[in-house]
């Protein structure tokens, strides 16, 4: 019996030895589409990207599915948001992957929120306030200035993981920075009319966008972070909206739209569903421009 067990172990050992991965391109596992898109811009043909979530999925509520473990097992670089956004599934993926490249502290472990300052850091950590993130609000990709910082850090990480293509990564970063800064300049002008507009949001997903555009958040539809709206909370909101109406109600396209629509019907305030992340194969620039255009359109 014991010998039988040893045989099994030997078989597994053999399988380990024969499994040598021969892949030229850097395997990148991006937790959210925005980081997939950024890695694509900065890595070009040197990277092969798999994005763990789509812009229709709430990145907090993902399970450590077998398919994701299989991807984590082969990844050379992990590009995620951090700040506990993926706390429900990323630690499991790391533990199950058996992959040293992407473990905490290794060059292949890249968390975007490690490179920027976060807003909304809770002063009190108590779950009666809902599902709060201790490190601060993680949705940083909605601030173009912060994206720029992340881009610079990610480019350095790409160079560290794959030093052979250093000059190429440097060039790609330079051209990205140039394009992005041009756009920032244009976007600032285009969105001047949005400054000072007041919004109601479903979840505190947009605070970096709000800060960048100068939007004024009047209320949140969720009772508390991660807790769906209740009817009493909504009727309370309705009363306050009648006194001081907001200019628009914003929600992410993956969020439940019932509460937003209800409030809109009662008050006539327009709703706008925004893709909080780029669609498949969409670039960061195209996605952000579309998002801004939708806001401008609603407001007109």
């Amino acid at each position: 019996m014991f010998i039988y067990g040893i045989k099994k172990l030997a078989l597994i050992g053999f399988l380990v030895l024969v499994s040598t991965t021969v892949n030229a391109a850097l395997q990148v596992l991006a937790c959210e589409p925005e980081w997939g898109a950024l890695a694509k811009s900065l890595g070009g043909h040197h990277v092969k990207i798999y994005t763990a979530t789509t812009n229709q999925q709430d990145p907090h509520h993902i399970q450590a599915r077998p398919s994701l473990i299989a991807k984590a097992r082969r990844a050379d670089l992990l590009v995620c948001t951090g700040a506990e956004l993926e706390v429900g599934w990323l630690p499991l993926l790391l533990r199950k992957s058996g992959n040293p490249n992407i473990q905490t502290g290794n060059p292949g472990y890249f968390m975007a929120t490690d490179y920027v300052a976060l807003l909304d850091k809770p002063t009190e950590l108590d779950r009666s306030h809902g599902d709060v993130h201790a490190a601060g609000n993680p949705h940083i990709h909605l601030d173009p200035e912060r994206v720029l910082k992340v881009a610079k850090a990610l480019s350095q990480t790409l160079i560290r993981v794959d030093p052979e293509n250093q000059t190429d990564y440097q060039n790609k970063l330079d051209s990205f920075i140039k394009q992005w800064q041009n756009r920032i300049h244009q976007w600032r002008k285009q969105t001047d009319s949005l400054k000072g507009k007041s919004i109601v949001a479903y979840h505190k997903s947009w605070i970096y966008l709000q800060q960048w555009l100068g939007l004024n958040e009047l209320a949140i539809l969720e009772t508390k972070p991660g807790i769906p709206p209740t009817s009493s909370h909504l009727s309370h909101l309705l009363a306050s909206m009648k006194k001081t109406p907001a200019d628009m109600i914003i929600y992410a396209s993956y969020q439940d739209d019932k509460a937003a629509n209800w409030l809109s019907q009662k008050t006539g305030i327009p709703t706008v569903a925004l893709d909080i992340s780029p669609a498949k194969d969409e670039t960061l620039i195209d996605w952000y421009e579309q998002l801004l255009n939708r806001l401008i359109k609603v407001q007109q």
């Binding site: 019996m1 014991f2 039988y4 067990g5 099994k8 172990l9 597994i12 399988l15 380990v16 499994s19 991965t21 979530t53 789509t54 229709q56 999925q57 709430d58 907090h60 509520h61 993902i62 399970q63 450590a64 599915r65 077998p66 398919s67 473990i69 299989a70 991807k71 097992r73 082969r74 706390v87 429900g88 599934w89 630690p91 499991l92 790391l94 533990r95 199950k96 992957s97 058996g98 992959n99 040293p100 490249n101 992407i102 473990q103 905490t104 502290g105 290794n106 920027v116 300052a117 976060l118 850091k121 779950r127 809902g130 599902d131 490190a135 991660g226 807790i227 769906p228 993956y254 439940d256």
Partner: protein, 463 residues
């Protein structure tokens, strides 16, 4: 423009109201107007200059403000790194608070599964109010090579509070090539549900086959090695070597008393569907005196059946999940099926019987369950489960087998369960469950009202 208009209108007004003005007077007037114009222009220029200066000042102030903001931001980053020193090395700690109210038509002490000798924690639990599994889990990365986890379960057992080490293991972190080694006490990778803690289950009680074969959970002390293939399709193979001291093995074997081999495959179909399938096999060749509860007969002598021999279990598990647009937060469906089959060959002895009664034993037991859980809106889900067992055990003395609870008494145990649960947040859950339990001849109706709440660190979203 305005100034010109003003001058013109004054001139016109003057020329109309005093038509008899002489040329000298007109010149004087013109001169005065000219002076007036000049003085206004000078004052306007001065004002414009002042405005420019003010704007400059404002710009400067703005710049300073931005610099300050930047410094604050930088200092914030610095502060967060500062904070990661003393306390953040504390491991993640979470506590599961679990309690319930249970109501049974039949006496829970009379519970049995004909054809299966119950052991471990198998049983219905207490009627009325009681605490379930109170769990304390402490976990952290030990260093860059290892992860460690301890789970203590506290529960009452016959008026005594017992602390049990449910799991205590170390595990390699990123050993390389998809290999992970685990050592210590851990839930075996047999089946699908077995690796999950009770609080992660979708029903208040274990499937009948888990109750019949494992006493709810297969756990042992040993080592596990697993390997994940570098393929797009998830493919895991692994093996466990364990002491074989714990139910459903037993005795005090020196060295390796039981081993397990398992394989799991899984993947996604499009964005909305995901699945997994597992095959596993457990083997204990040298069981020496595995005791279990026998066929209960009120007031009878405490004769305990004891099994010595060889035991093999083979299992198949299938899991399928669906979520619209792959986003399970609002709605999702989970289908789950597991089948187990056990072959045993050995001797059953009735301990404490005089003279000592024993019989040869050739056991063939199997069972399965299928369940569906549907979250129909955020916070709310409902589920149904069907359980079915069968056995065909034989031996030299059928009376002894009957006494050991290994005679199926011509009965096929089955159970229907339905539940409705409300989870206000990821950390709390209140569940109402109804069972129609036909485990033994007298069909039993069981109701559970259960809460399962977690404190502390955020648990993992297992598949």
């Amino acid at each position: 423009m305005r100034k010109k208009l003003l001058v013109a209108s004054i001139a016109i007004a003057l020329s109309y109201s005093h038509p008899a003005l002489s040329n000298d007077e007109l010149d004087l007037l013109k001169q005065q107007i000219q002076e007036l114009k000049q003085s206004y222009e000078q004052r306007i220029q001065a004002l414009e200059q002042r405005l420019e200066k003010t704007e400059e000042h404002a710009q400067k102030a703005n710049n300073t403000a931005q610099q300050v903001e930047k410094r604050i931001q930088q200092s914030e980053v610095a502060r967060t790194t500062d904070k990661n020193t003393a306390n953040s090395f504390n491991p993640a700690i979470s506590v599961i608070l679990d309690g319930r109210y249970a109501d049974f038509d039949n006496d829970p002490d009379a519970y049995e599964l004909p054809g299966f000798a119950l052991g471990g924690e198998a049983g219905l639990g207490e009627e009325g109010f009681s605490l379930g599994h109170t769990e304390l889990t402490v976990s952290a990365n030990v260093d860059d090579k290892f992860y460690g986890e301890l789970t203590l379960a506290v529960h009452d057992h016959e008026d005594e509070t017992e602390i049990e080490i449910e799991e205590a293991f170390i595990q390699t972190l990123g050993l390389g090539n998809g290999v992970t080694i685990k050592a210590g006490r851990f839930f075996s990778a047999m089946g699908y549900l077995n690796e999950q803690h009770e609080h992660a289950w979708d029903f208040a009680d274990a499937p009948l086959i888990y109750r019949g074969l494992f006493g709810d959970h297969l756990t042992d002390d040993g080592v596990q090695i697993s390997y994940i293939a570098p393929t797009d399709l998830y493919l895991q193979v692994g093996a466990e070597l364990s002491s074989g001291d714990k139910f459903p093995a037993g005795g005090n074997s020196q060295g390796v008393g039981a081993w397990t081999a398992f394989t799991n495959i899984g993947g996604d179909i499009g964005i909305e569907h995901s699945w997994s399938m597992g095959l596993s096999h457990w083997n204990a060749n040298d069981i020496d005196g595995r005791t279990s509860g026998g066929h209960s007969h009120a007031g009878g002598a405490a004769e305990t059946p004891s099994f010595t021999g060889e035991s093999k279990i083979t299992a198949l598990d299938l899991v399928y999940k669906w979520a619209p647009k792959g986003n399970p937060k609002n709605r999702n469906l989970k289908l789950q099926f597991e089948y187990f089959q056990r072959d045993e060959d050995g001797i059953i002895t009735m301990l404490n019987s005089a003279p000592l009664e024993s019989s040869t034993y050739d056991g063939d037991q199997s069972g399965w369950y299928a369940q569906a859980v549907y979250q129909f809106m955020p916070q709310w889900s409902t589920g149904f489960r069907y359980d079915r067992l069968s056995s065909s055990n034989s031996g030299s003395d059928s009376d002894i087998l009957a006494e050991a609870g290994l005679d199926d008494e011509g009965h096929t145990p089955e159970r229907y369960s339905a539940m409705l649960q409300w989870s206000p947040s990821e950390f709390s859950r209140i569940r109402l469950q109804f069972n129609q339990d036909k485990s033994y001849e007298d069909s039993d109706n069981q109701i559970f009202l259960q809460y399962t709440h977690s404190l502390g660190s955020h648990g993992g979203h297992q598949f």
